[in-house]
């Protein structure tokens, strides 16, 4: 057979931008049901920021109750009787708040921000493709995430309220309405996550195919920017972990609706089975939430230090190692669950070993800024904070990974402190860094640096004042998910600390308004962005801001790795990946694929 036949499906997906051909898509196809990865990236951004706001508002209510237990919440009077009569939160509503706060933050804010937003924005641009491999699948991915989010949100207003069994939804509590007082809400929780799972799967298939098959000539594996490496590995984690959650959620839904007993002990079901399945998904999930953040931070740190990333191959290896080890550690969430203690020992070993690749990452970041020429632009500030805070979160993970220590701190605020250090201090700071970094590329306007720095300073200070004391609360014995700690005599002395935390949590929430204002204001009023404001190397920075539909005018070629900063003897301290070696004549890219690769023979 001839060579063309199988080429067709591959190449027709590439619409290289044709400057003579203005973008004439009608409004709906351009902004709403768009198949352009950049538009979909923006859609994911606005959707997730909205849910971040929702999750944040829920956190404010949680903190109100914990800071001033039983006091009517200011403005709480608008809530219906079933949630907060007279503005005083009910305990069952508190459980829903905690559950939905965790669910929204993890599934609808951080995950779509990292994977949906950065994945869509960066993958085609960084690898030099015109779009994703499957643009329509990409659009469907976004448009199934939206209903999933609104189903979750809608569960607040159904009879019985929103799911209230924690974001981990341990049965039997989550399976039997008589136990939790929630029926429809708990089912909607399952349904929403199953739909969201489909959305993530579609995204993952797209990302993997695009990265494997659509890299521009010369973009070899070891020349890929680290965000792409981390998104690639993340996509694999999503691909293999989400189906487990979907399967478990379906079984839970059956237990709730048609009366099976997979997780209910009466007829021989196993409550621990849910925990195994959930955490078999859940631990890879937390790496889904940190790996792209690490990639973004690496990109920004190299840029801000004007230095090549220290030990690129080791950085890639560490991403792969973390992801691989992430599959064999899930039992560390179940040390006290009644699981065989000997299994606990082996899970402790595998969990601890993850500190090693994490150490490689941390020390290589330090190595990158060492002897650099550090520019403190807003993205860089956030990325440096990411490193500092991730270390705290990671080190607190080591305490919990130690089985005997975990006996005491399991299910206390020590865990809450850990998870916010890695998720807020880690993921969210990296997200801030990434948004400040790429906003100019995608909207053609700079975010205000002044507002950015104010936002950073307030967030950094308040964030630590909120979450660091939680370690002490946990060591004081304060359990998670409790509505009123003062029920326990031994927790009463901790009330002042809880109030302290709440005060700064409210301040933290309010200071996020600076960020939201900055985004909204800069979208229309921000300074116009040049092509390459940060003097960065990867392919997107040679495009217009924002890049046209179809991205590149023709297939770009790649000549070097992404972190060639401060190359000696060049006038500039950066070197675009797509710039031919002698600055003009087009060569066959060195080390690139020989003509004919990428096509079946």
């Amino acid at each position: 057979m001839s060579t063309t036949q199988l080429l067709a499906p591959n190449v027709t997906a590439q619409h290289w931008a044709d400057p003579s051909h203005p973008d004439d898509r009608p409004f709906i196809r351009r902004y709403i049901f768009s198949t352009d990865h950049k538009t979909i990236g923006n859609q994911f951004m606005f959707m997730s920021l909205f849910f971040l706001l929702v999750g944040g508002a829920l956190a404010m209510m949680i903190r109100w109750q914990l800071g001033w237990p039983g006091q009517p919440m200011p403005g709480g009077g608008v809530l219906p009787e079933t949630m907060a009569p007279g503005g005083i939160l009910l305990p069952e509503f508190y459980n829903s708040l905690v559950t939905m706060h965790g669910t929204f933050m993890i599934f609808f804010a951080i995950m779509p921000l990292l994977v949906g937003m950065f994945g869509n924005w960066l993958i085609p641009l960084h690898v030099g493709a015109s779009d994703m491999a499957f643009p329509r699948l990409n659009m469907m991915s976004f448009w199934s995430a939206v209903p999933a989010g609104f189903i979750m949100l809608a569960s607040f207003v159904v009879e019985g309220g929103a799911a209230g069994a924690g974001w981990t939804a341990y049965p039997p509590l989550s399976a039997v309405p008589e136990y939790s007082g929630v029926s429809t809400g708990q089912q909607l929780w399952c349904v929403s996550l199953i739909i969201l799972g489909f959305s993530s799967l579609m995204g993952a298939v797209n990302y993997i195919t695009t990265i494997v098959n659509m890299r521009a000539p010369g973009m070899t594996w070891m020349r890929m920017p680290l965000p792409i490496w981390s998104l690639f590995i993340t996509a694999i984690l999503i691909l293999l972990a989400i189906p487990i959650l979907a399967g478990a959620a379906i079984m839970l839904l059956f237990d709730q609706t048609i009366g099976t007993t997979f997780f209910l002990p009466e007829a021989g079901g196993q409550p621990l089975l849910w925990q195994h399945l959930f955490w078999y998904f859940g631990h890879p999930e937390v790496y889904i939430l940190i790996l792209p953040a690490m990639g973004v931070a690496s990109e920004v740190i190299a840029n801000g230090s004007r230095k090549p990333i220290f030990g690129y191959p080791a950085m890639v290896g560490a991403i792969v190692a973390i992801a691989f080890l992430g599959w064999i550690v899930w039992g560390h969430h179940m040390f006290q669950s009644g699981m065989n203690p000997l299994l606990g020992s082996s899970f402790m070993l595998s969990t601890m070993i993850i500190a090693v690749p994490s150490a490689i990452k941390v020390f290589n970041w330090l190595g990158t800024i060492w002897r650099g020429d550090i520019h403190f632009h807003t993205p860089m500030l956030n990325a440096l904070a990411f490193v500092g805070m991730f270390v705290i979160g990671g080190l607190s993970g080591v305490f919990m990974a130690s089985t005997p220590v975990d006996i005491y701190i399991h299910d206390t605020y020590f865990i809450v402190a850990h998870l916010h250090y890695v998720l807020f201090g880690g993921s969210l700071f990296a997200i801030f860094a990434g948004i400040y970094f790429w906003f100019p590329k995608f909207f053609g306007r700079m975010l205000s640096p002044t507002l950015g720095k104010i936002h950073f300073a307030l967030t950094f200070v308040f964030y630590n004042l909120v979450f660091f004391p939680m370690h002490n609360l946990g060591l004081g014995g304060m359990m998670r998910r409790i509505y009123d700690p003062n029920q326990y005599g031994f927790l009463e002395p901790l009330q002042p600390m809880n109030t302290f935390v709440s005060v700064f949590a409210l301040a933290l929430g309010v200071s996020q308004l600076v960020f939201f204002f900055n985004i909204l204001w800069s979208l229309w009023r921000g300074e116009k962005a040049p092509e390459n404001p940060w003097r960065s190397n990867s392919l997107e920075w040679s495009l217009a801001s924002p890049p046209p539909h179809g991205n590149f005018e023709a297939m770009p070629a790649v000549y070097r790795g992404p972190y060639e900063y401060s190359y000696p003897g060049r006038g500039e301290d950066f070197w675009l990946q797509g710039e031919p070696p002698d600055g003009g004549a087009v060569h066959a890219p060195t080390g690139g694929a020989p003509v004919g690769e990428g096509v079946p023979q």
């Binding site: 005083i88 409550p271 030990g311 090693v356 299910d411 359990m479 301290d573």
Partner: protein, 246 residues
């Protein structure tokens, strides 16, 4: 953390402090390096960043050292873990342990005492709600179960925490080293009353424990208080200490 009141409490705390020292040192090292580098290498007119792709030797050093450290932590932790879980005995409590049964349910702890014969499931057993009484200096074996959802049996002062899972009976043991009254808390979200599913643990001198036990039997003559259904709503907040010992 409260002062430990069980035999293995101090061991658990010691590994906590080992980890605290190790991670504390790493924390100080990393954050200091971060801050020093940030200040030392901040942008100045004329500064040129070094062009370097890394250093194999340094990378090997900072891979191997953490590896050794975590192996040490695992080794030290595992010793205590196996001791606490009595893995060499197949999880069985010491032979002379006082057997108790604790069954959790929304939102209370029901404790079955073996009575004078020291054996469960005999006629002289009696049940107390939300009150755990144990003698000092003698191991206690608890068969932990749950009637409805997952709860978690948490004795902060004793460094004991174990989920109570319906459909399973999980052995827990400890030996008290101090007399007094201690909190028993529920650490696993179990519904709207999770936050107030508390009970108390009283550690008696050995003789006082026997005395208490005979008083209990005399006072009731029969098992007490096992199955009152606790349907009161949390926010009505009428649960007082007094009625629990009724």
């Amino acid at each position: 953390m409260p002062e430990p009141a069980s035999t293995f409490g101090a061991g658990i705390d010691s590994i906590y402090y080992i980890i605290l020292w190790i991670t504390g040192a790493i924390f100080v090292l990393v954050e200091t390096a971060l801050i020093v580098f940030i200040i030392r290498y901040r942008h100045r007119e004329g500064r040129v960043a070094a062009y370097s792709h890394g250093n194999k030797k340094a990378e090997i050093v900072w891979t191997v050292i953490p590896f050794i450290l975590v192996l040490f932590i695992v080794y030290a932790s595992n010793d205590i873990w196996l001791e606490v879980k009595r893995a060499d005995q197949g999880g069985a409590a010491p032979a002379d342990a006082l057997p108790l049964r604790v069954v959790a349910k929304q939102f209370e702890w029901n404790v079955t005492y073996p009575g004078p014969d020291g054996e469960l499931d005999t006629a002289d057993d009696f049940v107390k709600r939300n009150q755990l009484h144990v003698p000092i200096g003698r191991a206690v074996r608890i068969d932990l179960g749950s009637e409805d959802v997952i709860h978690s049996f948490f004795l902060p002062d004793f460094r004991v925490k174990q989920d109570a899972v319906p459909g399973m009976t999980i052995p827990v043991w400890f030996e008290a080293t101090r007399t007094g009254e201690f909190p028993l808390a529920c650490a696993e979200l179990c519904g709207l009353g999770h936050y107030r599913m508390r009970a108390s643990l009283t550690v008696h001198e050995a003789a006082d424990f026997d005395l208490w036990q005979s008083q209990e039997i005399a006072a009731s003559g029969s098992p007490t208080g096992a199955s009152e259904i606790d349907t009161e709503r949390a926010n009505e907040a009428e649960i007082s200490e007094g009625e629990e010992s009724a």
